[in-house]
Subunit: 138 residues, 2 copies
């Protein structure tokens, strides 16, 4: 078991929006972002797209339902920065370490996400930041 | 003048916190972050520190005054993700382009920041994301 949760790099920064197509067009037109596919992920309740920028990505999220977590975020707080994803190796060991350190895990075990195996840590354990840990598969 | 605002990479992701020392200790202890200096920046109303992680950085911000913008952010919304900084070249040209595209600039001209020359774009122009453009000096 690792003694700390070493971060390889920032995997992505996620932005919750009302209209993913409008957001992707904006980032492409204004910020010269490369085209990116939209994945519909009913198990996560979102449409999502990862825009590669250098070593990291901007993830654009649109809720499939206004009453799911991303939908309520946009309803309550408006569009904006939603979570920060850190790339790690050995995700299950890292989750065990964080839990032992007293951090509150939303996912005690990894599940499949757009970026690979993922697990979320509660924002109250990370200075208000909803934090995703990502281990790229393969 | 450039025809778009090409992004070189994500310069940093900023997190507003109540206690920068506690946040830096947390990131070092839990996420194996390297030590980083704290800069006191009265002209920006913050103490700030940049934690290098791969190609990008996590910026930790603590307001010097609860009534300045970062202080009010923490009072009103709590600690959490504060802004996204995109690294560009030719910052003044980029600002002119964004203004011509109808984006609302907080800074029409670059000013000196922790990361080099910086300028902020209003969140209402970028899907709720307070967006900083950064051009590294030298």
């Amino acid at each position: 078991m690792n003694e700390v949760c070493t971060v390889n790099h920032i995997d992505h920064v996620a932005i919750a929006v009302r209209d993913i197509n409008a957001a992707l067009e904006f980032f492409q037109t204004i910020f010269d972002a490369p085209p990116s596919e939209i994945s519909v992920m009913p198990e996560h309740g979102v449409k999502a797209s990862l825009i590669q920028i250098g070593q990291t990505r901007i993830e654009i999220l649109e809720a499939l339902d206004p009453d799911n977590p991303v939908g309520r975020f946009v309803q309550n707080k408006g569009e904006g920065l939603h979570h920060l994803a850190l790339n790690v190796s050995g995700l299950q060991d890292k989750l065990n370490f964080l839990s032992a350190q007293g951090l509150q895990l939303i996912d005690k075990e990894p599940r499949e996400g757009l970026s690979g195996s993922v697990a979320f840590v509660h924002p109250r354990s990370v200075f208000g930041v909803l934090t995703e840990l990502v281990e790229n598969n393969g």
